[in-house]
Structures are given as structure tokens and as C-alpha cells.
């Protein structure tokens, strides 16, 4: 049976792992290569490296970092942040990434999703979606959650699936950094509407939250950062707990 995946996310700024709350107040969380290696050894199923560097110069360093991570770890990883072209995707895949994650660029230029899928296959294109509830509607935001669009979350998710996305990474901005649990209801709706896997992101604070996102939210994978970086929930403990609660996870 396919295992539910646990995915630590490394937000990278200027070559260091950082973590903030609601996309703000960044705090240093260590060397990304060391952290990636530690997670792989602890039994994480996959990693996401998200480059949140502001400048283009800093962004160039991501290729080197992606290569170093690939030399060290024996599990898959995706890279996201500022990817706007097939050429960048090629460079990241050539440096060892399995997947790329596109976000704002997909909103600006949806064709990018199909271009990458056609060139390298749907399996390597993850569409990351940041959204928050505005009134009764979930609205997609871009540029690290700073810019609201007029796009509704579920129709957008369906659309990018049709364009060739192999996976959706959905971050609830309302839940991100709160440690009060994932956006379980929205995730359940998304998982019931889509035929591609969905990674849940935003709100992990306890082991119970992971149980809920898999059982109630029907997510295929759950992503978190600070609970892992700062040692609050060790990955092996989390897997023991999920397994005890009848959730199928990979044991190493």
C-alpha cells in the first residue's frame, strides 16, 4: 500500500535554512546540506527546498546547493522558489532535483506548467499554491503570499492538474506558522476533487495534526518546517505515532 509521506521543507535564504511565521520574521535554522542529510537519515520520505532569496544573485547559488544536497541524500527532493522557465527547470534537474515546484510563475503564465510537463514529464512538476480564506472563498496569493489574486483555490488546482501538474503543494496561509493544525476541510475537498497527489502544508504543531491531515484531510503527504528544524517533533517519533494510529508510513 502506498505510504503517506512526511516532507520536511527547507526555506533557503542566501544559502541558509530560515523559518518565519506567516511568511515573516525569519529565524536561522542551520546549514541546508546538513539538515537535508539528517532528515534523510531519520526517515523523511522526501524534501522540499524552497529558495526565498530576494535577489537574482542569491538565487544563482541554489544550483550549487541543489547539487550538494543531491550528493548527500538518497531520497527524492523538489526545489522551488523563483522558477519561471523550462531552462531553469532543466538546470535544477541536471543538478539532481527530482521535481521543481512553481508558484507565482504558474499564475502569471499557466503555459509554463504544460511546457515543463511536456518536456520532462508530469512527475517532475509540482504546482505550489498559497491561499487564504477571504470571506467564504479560498483565494490564491502569489509572491510569497503577499499578493492576492482573483483566482479561487479549487478551480485553480483543477486547472493546473489539467495543464499537467503531477502534484499540488497547498499551503494555507491562514494556518501557516500557527501550529494549530492543517486546513483539514479545504484539503479534504481538494483531495476529493483531484486525481493527482496533494501535499498539505501550513499549521503543523503536533503529531495529532499529522494524523488529522491524513485521516480527515485525505492528504497524500504532509509538509512542515519548524516542528522538524527545531526538534519539536522528531521524524522517527512521528512515524511511530502515525503507524500506531493505523496510518501506513514507510519505516526505515
Amino acid at each position: 500500500m502506498l505510504a503517506k509521506r512526511i516532507i520536511p521543507c527547507l526555506d533557503i535564504k542566501n544559502g541558509r535554512t530560515v523559518k518565519g511565521v506567516n511568511f515573516e520574521n525569519l529565524r536561522d535554522a542551520g546549514d541546508p546540506v546538513e539538515l537535508a542529510k539528517r532528515y534523510a537519515d531519520e526517515g523523511a520520505d522526501e524534501l522540499v527546498l524552497l529558495d526565498i532569496s530576494a535577489s537574482l544573485e542569491a538565487r544563482e547559488t541554489i544550483y550549487d546547493l541543489v547539487r550538494k544536497v543531491g550528493e548527500q541524500i538518497n531520497i527524492p527532493y523538489a526545489v522551488g522558489g523563483g522558477i519561471t522557465s523550462v531552462a531553469q527547470t532543466y538546470k535544477l534537474l541536471r543538478n539532481g532535483a527530482e521535481k521543481v515546484s512553481v508558484n507565482s510563475a504558474a499564475v502569471r503564465q499557466p503555459q509554463l506548467v504544460s511546457d515543463i510537463a511536456n518536456e520532462y514529464g508530469t512527475q517532475c512538476i509540482v504546482v505550489a499554491i498559497d491561499a487564504r480564506k477571504v470571506g467564504e472563498e479560498w483565494i490564491v496569493h502569489t509572491h510569497g503570499g503577499t499578493k492576492p489574486t482573483e483566482i479561487e483555490l479549487f478551480s485553480w488546482a483543477k486547472h493546473v492538474q489539467d495543464l499537467g501538474a503531477g502534484e499540488i503543494l497547498f499551503t494555507s496561509m491562514d494556518h501557516d506558522g500557527t501550529k494549530n493544525g492543517f486546513a483539514v476541510k479545504a484539503l479534504r475537498k481538494m483531495n476529493e476533487e483531484l486525481s493527482i497527489p496533494v501535499i498539505a502544508s501550513g499549521g503543523a504543531g503536533s503529531k495529532e495534526h499529522f494524523k488529522d491531515v491524513f485521516k480527515e484531510g485525505k492528504a497524500d503527504a504532509a509538509l512542515a518546517a519548524s516542528v522538524f528544524h527545531f526538534g519539536e517533533i522528531p521524524v522517527p517519533d512521528l512515524k511511530d505515532y502515525l503507524s500506531d494510529n493505523d496510518i501506513n508510513v514507510r519505516r526505515t
Binding site: M1, G70, N74, S195, I196, D220, A221
Partner: protein, 197 residues
């Protein structure tokens, strides 16, 4: 020396990294003599079956692969291309293994039937040397939308909606559908087993 077949359709970087971690000597090559004289041949790949076959043919590698006498391991689409035919783009493949590559059919409202089949799933193997010291139901990493039907060359199966061929073997030709190069310690063991053949 391990020859990794270079035909612009592989994520050869991950395979090279895995071999480096195993301290194996390898070369990335599309040279006929180098491939035919290598002790072991790795045939990785991602992407679309038609494009991958076209890339092989344009370099004459289709004929080189079928002529390999030493152990060869096809990974992911490499394994699929070793079969007769793929429904992906209705592609005639290398015809080493008498099997058809089919497409998973997605079914909504059931999280276990999404397509692509992406993530870690268990294998049940028949004790072939490729799986020496690999425990039953070990997890390996998959990303694919097409699968090889179980056939007489099957040496391991995985269940996703239904059982299918996780690994195949025909004479000196081996294939694994999962990404051994990204399957943690289990994957490293399988690659090491292949190198030990």
C-alpha cells in the same frame, strides 16, 4: 566499470550520485564499444516513452542495448522501454521482455488511486539475487503513470490498484520500475546487489 547510458532522457545525475555513494567506478556514455565492454550497464530514464525511444534510435542505442551481454539494469522508463510496446504514445519499444506497458487509470474519491503513482510503496519479491538482503515489503520510491503488466519475467511486484511488475529479469536484462537511486538504504542495497551480479 559501470556504463550509464547517456541519451538525454535520464535524470542521470541522481544515478551518478548513488553510484558515488557506493564507491563504484562509472562513466556516462553513448559510445557503443564502451557500453558493450562495460561490466555492468545502467539504463535510467524519465519522460515520455516516444521521446525516449526516439532519442535512443537517433544515437543507434536501441541496437546497442539489445546487444549487451553483461548485466544491464533499466530503471523506471528504462525498464518500460525494455518491453514490447507502451501505450504511452503507442510506442514500439525494445522488445527484450514480452510485456505491454499500460496506463494507470485514475479514480477519484479514493486517495490510493491517484495518478501518477507517486511515493513509497512496498515490494514483494521472489528471492532473486537482485533482492539479496532486501526484506519482504520493503518500501521503494515510485513516480510513474504507466506500468509493466505482471508477466513471466516478473521478479518483484507492487500493488497499486492491482499488482504489477516492480522488477523484471530476462537473461542478463534486469528492470526496476522504482527509483532505486532514490529509495534510501533499500535502494542502495538493490543497486549494490546489481553491481555484485
Amino acid at each position: 566499470m559501470v556504463a550509464i547510458i547517456d541519451y538525454d532522457a535520464g535524470n542521470t545525475c541522481s544515478v551518478m550520485n548513488a553510484l558515488r555513494r557506493l564507491d563504484a567506478d562509472f562513466m556516462l556514455t553513448n559510445d557503443k564499444e564502451s557500453i558493450l565492454s562495460a561490466d555492468k550497464v545502467l539504463f535510467p530514464g524519465v519522460g515520455h516513452a516516444t521521446q525516449a525511444m526516439n532519442a535512443l534510435k537517433s544515437k543507434g542505442l536501441d541496437e546497442v542495448i539489445t546487444a549487451v551481454k553483461n548485466p544491464l539494469l533499466g530503471i523506471c522508463i528504462g525498464m518500460q522501454l525494455m518491453c514490447d510496446f507502451s501505450v504511452e504514445g503507442n510506442t514500439r519499444c525494445l522488445g527484450i521482455v514480452d510485456a505491454i506497458v499500460q496506463k494507470f487509470v485514475p479514480l477519484n474519491h479514493d486517495e490510493f488511486q491517484k495518478v501518477p503513482h507517486m511515493g513509497w510503496n512496498g515490494i514483494v519479491h521472489s528471492g532473486d539475487a537482485l533482492f539479496t538482503d532486501v526484506a519482504e515489503s520493503s518500501y521503494v520510491y515510485y513516480v510513474h503513470s504507466y506500468f509493466v503488466e505482471s508477466n513471466e519475467c516478473t521478479i518483484a511486484e507492487t500493488d497499486y490498484n492491482h499488482p504489477y511488475a516492480a522488477a523484471i529479469k530476462k537473461d542478463n536484462f534486469y528492470g526496476v520500475q522504482f527509483h532505486a537511486e532514490k529509495s534510501g538504504k533499500v535502494g542502495e542495497q538493490i543497486l549494490q546487489n546489481f553491481l555484485n551480479l
